[in-house]
Symmetry: C2
Subunit: 250 residues, 2 copies
DNA sequence: AACCCTTTCCGAGATAACCGAAAACTTTCT
DNA sequence: AGAAAGTTTTCGGTTATCTCGGAAAGGGTT
């Protein structure tokens, strides 16, 4: 690495990633996985325990609830998060589908709140789930309200990765769609991130017209025909507007 | 340092703690707060950014949603968490108070799920909130089902810290109470952690009688008279039993 | 434009991180 | 039970790498 960045920190978090990803494990298994000497892994785990972010449960090391706490703290500092609170529930009830709140972070769309409709949990929609901006309705809702320069920057840096065969990969098509989003007030994606899944999202702007997040409703294509879609779009937009108003009070 | 643990790791997480605690900040402010050279703090922040757990928002560094993700992942690996899912909501509805799920971690009680009753959010009950075992109903519910040796160990290590004037600080009294918990099936605390707050908690055991967590209901003392308390205890115990059954299926 | 403040870059020197090797524990098998 | 295989933990020397002063670059204000 030509980068000038603390190796210990990178390694420590690689360990955390591994623990978070594949669950609690022992020293030697971790060492195998990460291709590091056992003793070194052990040293790191001790250090991590000292921080309180990792603990040792009888026979395996695992992450602690501190991550939950930090994540939660961060959410509650997010103004949109507080502003959207009740609305998300309303949206889920009115539409009967999953309703989520997303924000942009490091050029990606991230789910920060999930409200489930009456149906089962969606494996793809959990707090912290990250996705490319161009491949989802909420992402496009947010892109549509960023300065064009910012959008081209993002495309330059990450490209328009094809997540499913439906993903928009042509910049021109994307820019057209963003124009549509601005005129009709909401974004839609049909299986562009997850095959068979339709998402409809409304942008949340603050009083300076800066994009702050998006409210997203998604469900299986089979259940969302044309009529339903525009109905859902209305609900989402209304919720976004209310949130917008709340934002100014917070 | 007599401790044999990676300094970089400790410092990195101290930075994270600071960011989580006091919100986004700039390099020099962080350096002040933690009494470290600016350049060093800068180095760490760069390293943290490389890991994806910290990001830089125009003028300040802040934690990312990765913490949320890791925390969430961990919860979903917890069997109790999955087993309690719907029950918590039922409890909150039936009692009209806050219902929470707690587990034991590193000799403390930690909230991992919160279901709010119709009333406002409780500042003390958020996911990740930690508290001493002896000073809360859920803590006592869990202590009551640990081996006595374990309990004395915990007392030795941490003592019976007085959180409020009501907190039990005498080991004998505590052991008596734990006996009560075992015989009546639920634990109660009256302002022992937060003045004016009453908590009622039922333990969740698995088929091997190992303690896995506790369901807790709490509300202001004024609202919870004797009758309500035993009523709530029933609801909590029933939910704990259902959870227990679910546990065996998961 | 000059000032101050904050952030970023850089390099040399000292520290503390890294890993091999062996000891202490566990678990499994005969 | 006793041995064997596996896993975790301890320890110390070396040397890679982290640390931090100082300088440069950026940003905002008077």
């Amino acid at each position: 690495m030509t980068e000038r960045s603390n190796q210990s920190v990178r390694r420590a978090f690689k360990l955390v990633d591994e623990l978070a990803e594949n669950g609690p494990r022992g020293v030697s298994e971790l060492a195998d996985q990460l291709d590091m000497p056992v003793s070194t892994v052990h040293d790191y785990l001790q250090a991590l325990i000292a921080t309180g972010y990792v603990t040792k449960d009888e026979s395996a090391y695992k992450t602690t609830t501190r991550f939950l706490e930090v994540g939660h703290r961060q959410c509650h500092r997010l103004e949109v998060f507080k502003a959207v609170r009740d609305e998300l529930e309303t949206v889920a009830e009115e539409t009967g589908e999953h309703a989520t709140l997303l924000i942009e972070e490091d050029d990606q769309a991230v789910i920060v709140a999930v409200q489930e409709g009456p149906d089962a949990i969606n494996l793809f929609a959990y707090p912290g789930a990250r996705m490319p901006l161009h491949a989802t309705a909420p992402g496009k809702a947010m892109l549509a309200h960023m300065p064009t320069e910012r959008v081209t920057d993002i495309i330059d840096r990450h490209g328009l990765v094809e997540v499913t065969p439906q993903t928009v990969t042509d910049p021109d098509v994307l820019f057209d769609q963003l124009e549509d989003v601005r005129s009709q007030g909401y974004a839609i994606d049909v299986g562009e991130r997850i095959a068979g899944m339709v998402c409809i999202a409304a942008p949340i702007l603050d009083k300076n017209d800066r994009i702050r997040g998006a409210i997203c409703v998604c469900g299986p294509r089979s259940r969302l025909d044309e009529d339903r879609r525009s109905e859902i779009a209305d609900v989402a937009q209304r919720a976004a507007n209310v949130t917008q108003v709340n934002l100014d009070y917070v």
